[in-house]
């Protein structure tokens, strides 16, 4: 080891709980979550009932996949405010494609309409992400303003495409569509399974591939990345495309659970999604964040929401409390970094 080769006379090794995961905001929030779950289970006998757990799992899956995506963007030091709108337009495009193909009588083989509809839905999301990424990476526009613009553009397009009405997926593939979005496998909501697979994939990519390391490097010091030969612009565009794809996927899942895609689907979800990412430890200044944190942030928000309902607290308190949690999570992190210099 290095320690035996060189004499580290005055440089003490930091203890294991002072570095890595144990020293991260994610770990503190996880601890808070465990405490909260314990308190809730004492306060309400229904909290840990299988029905309620399945409820919580399904509800947080609604925003968790999009949170994984936006966490990538936040790690690079960017932001994507258009995720809520992207969820709506992707879901709408998917439904409209199924409706249109059914009206045209196009059905060469079972599942064909669903496949085309999903291609249309994900394609829409990819185009939005590419437009965001291109404007930010190549035209050097500010991520906040760019995605604030696309938030409005994409939501507007959703209303234009639907005349403000909801669109329900119809046709021969409807049952299949509902099965892959709101179905269950062995009692577990399928959306939760997607989330687990995507989260593991994201963890692997962020921690064990060069691409993941470049994502962190761009958030830490973009100029350094450029000087050392990291393809900064390409990685940034890819990150925004992935974020939009995750949001689109999440939107399609929600529309399956609702049975239709209303034009105001996921309205203002971007704020909850960003809140979940930030609570989970993603730093808006860039360079910090991860898949586990994104999920823990989503669970915490949902547990609070659910717990307040079970405790029969006026639901209007919910937003106030989530706001307090955001500030508390960031404060704890601030105090910790003050202490360690």
């Amino acid at each position: 080891m290095a320690d035996t080769v060189q004499g580290f006379s005055n440089v003490r090794r930091t203890r294991f709980w002072q570095r890595g995961f144990f020293a991260s905001q994610t770990a503190y929030v996880l601890l808070a979550l465990v405490v909260l779950v314990f308190a809730m289970s004492l306060a309400s006998g229904n909290f840990l009932s299988p029905g309620n757990i399945s409820n919580i799992v399904r509800n947080f899956s609604f925003i968790a996949i999009a949170t994984l995506g936006i966490t990538l963007v936040i790690i690079t030091g960017g932001i994507d405010l258009s995720v809520g709108s992207t969820m709506a337009l992707s879901a709408t495009t998917t439904s409209l494609t199924m409706v249109g193909l059914t009206a045209a009588g196009f059905y060469p083989f079972p599942g064909s309409q669903l496949i085309l509809a999903l291609i249309a839905g994900f394609g829409t999301a990819a185009i939005i992400g590419f437009a965001n990424g291109f404007a930010i990476a190549k035209l050097k526009l500010s991520p906040f303003v760019t995605t604030l613009g696309s938030l409005s553009i994409v939501r507007g397009l959703t209303y234009v495409a639907t005349q403000g009405r909801g669109t329900a997926p119809t046709g021969p593939d409807k049952a299949l569509f509902l099965a892959i979005t709101s179905g269950q496998v062995g009692g577990i909501p399928v959306s939760f399974l997607y989330l687990v697979v995507l989260a593991v994939l994201m963890w692997l990519v962020l921690n064990h591939t060069a691409w993941g390391r470049h994502v962190y490097a761009i958030g830490g010091n973009e100029a350094a990345g450029r000087l050392t030969g990291v393809p900064v612009d390409r990685v940034k565009i890819q990150v925004y495309v992935l974020c939009s794809l995750a949001a689109g996927f999440n939107g399609i899942i929600i529309s399956g659970w609702l049975g239709s895609a209303p034009a105001n689907l996921a309205q203002a979800y971007e704020l909850t999604i960003i809140a979940a990412a930030v609570i989970g430890g993603a730093n808006l200044a860039g360079g910090v964040g991860g898949a586990a944190g994104a999920i823990i942030g989503c669970i915490l928000i949902e547990v609070i929401r659910n717990g307040l309902v079970l405790a029969r607290v006026d639901p209007y308190w919910q937003q106030t409390l989530v706001g307090c949690i955001i500030v508390a999570a960031v404060l704890v992190d601030r105090f910790r970094s003050l202490r360690s210099g």
């Binding site: 290095a2 440089v11 390391r213 490097a217 958030g219 830490g220 100029a223 050392t228 030969g229």
Partner: protein, 246 residues
């Protein structure tokens, strides 16, 4: 034969002429000091040699052949490594991640390649041992002292067989003892046959390690002579313009 030759290199930014017909040669294993006041064109010159800027006039020859250095990656492929003034480190990554940034070691097939964390850490430990630096490969750069950061930035240039290393103010932000270490390192680089261009404000550093000094003033080269035939007083006069040329 010259390792690097600049012929009448000029660089204009709009109406500003940052470099004016600059020519010089660097031989293999030579240590050359590049001096000048703020705004004299030192940094622009470094950025042209490291591929960040393209000259608007003149040409570069590397190893006797005309070289077009379009990007920092291209410069590195030729064997030109740069230690940047602000060190170009990502604070949120470990020392070894920074050293290998942009050229990570990987295994696997096709697009599915995973990082070789252990191999990279081991190589980083070796590099720090070579540099005699008390720097841990798996510590975050955020937690490091100025000297340790410097060691990371320099270790990065030792990954491949560089033939020319550009050092932009490598001793500006570090302690006296660490300055001695960096200067010792420059000597070791020369012994290994690597040429070094040392850009510095610190006269004692340049006179301690360099064989030759090039002085820039207002975008032009005003002197290019052996250290033995010069003096700190003369160089100061050249930098300020009290002495027109030498």
């Amino acid at each position: 034969m010259a390792l690097l030759e600049l012929r009448n290199v000029s660089k204009e930014f709009g109406a500003i002429r940052a470099l004016n017909d600059v020519s010089f040669t660097i031989k293999p294993g030579e240590i050359v000091g590049l001096m000048g006041d703020n705004g004299a064109g030192k940094s622009t010159l470094v950025k042209i040699m490291s591929g960040i800027y393209q000259p608007t006039g003149g040409e570069l020859l590397f190893g006797g052949e005309r070289a077009h250095i379009h990007s920092p990656g291209e410069a590195r492929r030729l064997g030109i490594e740069t230690v940047y003034q602000d060190l170009a480190l990502a604070d949120n990554l470990t020392a070894s991640a920074n050293i290998f940034l942009g050229r990570e070691l990987k295994y696997g097939f096709g697009p599915f390649k995973l990082l070789r964390h252990r191999a990279m850490n081991a190589r980083a430990v070796e590099l720090f041992a070579e540099l005699k630096s008390e720097t841990r490969a798996d510590d975050l750069v955020r937690q490091m002292s100025g000297g340790q950061r410097q060691a990371v930035a320099i270790a990065r240039t030792r990954l491949t067989d560089a033939r020319l290393i550009l050092m932009d103010e490598p001793t500006a932000a570090i302690s006296v003892r660490q300055v001695a270490e960096v200067l010792g390192l420059i000597h070791r680089l020369r012994d290994a046959g690597i040429a070094v261009i040392l850009i510095s404000h610190r006269m004692p550093d340049v006179f301690a390690v360099c064989e030759r000094v090039i002085v820039m003033r207002r975008g032009s080269k005003v002197a290019d002579k052996p250290i033995a035939g010069s003096s700190p007083e003369e160089v100061t006069a050249l930098i300020t313009g009290a002495l027109e040329a030498a």
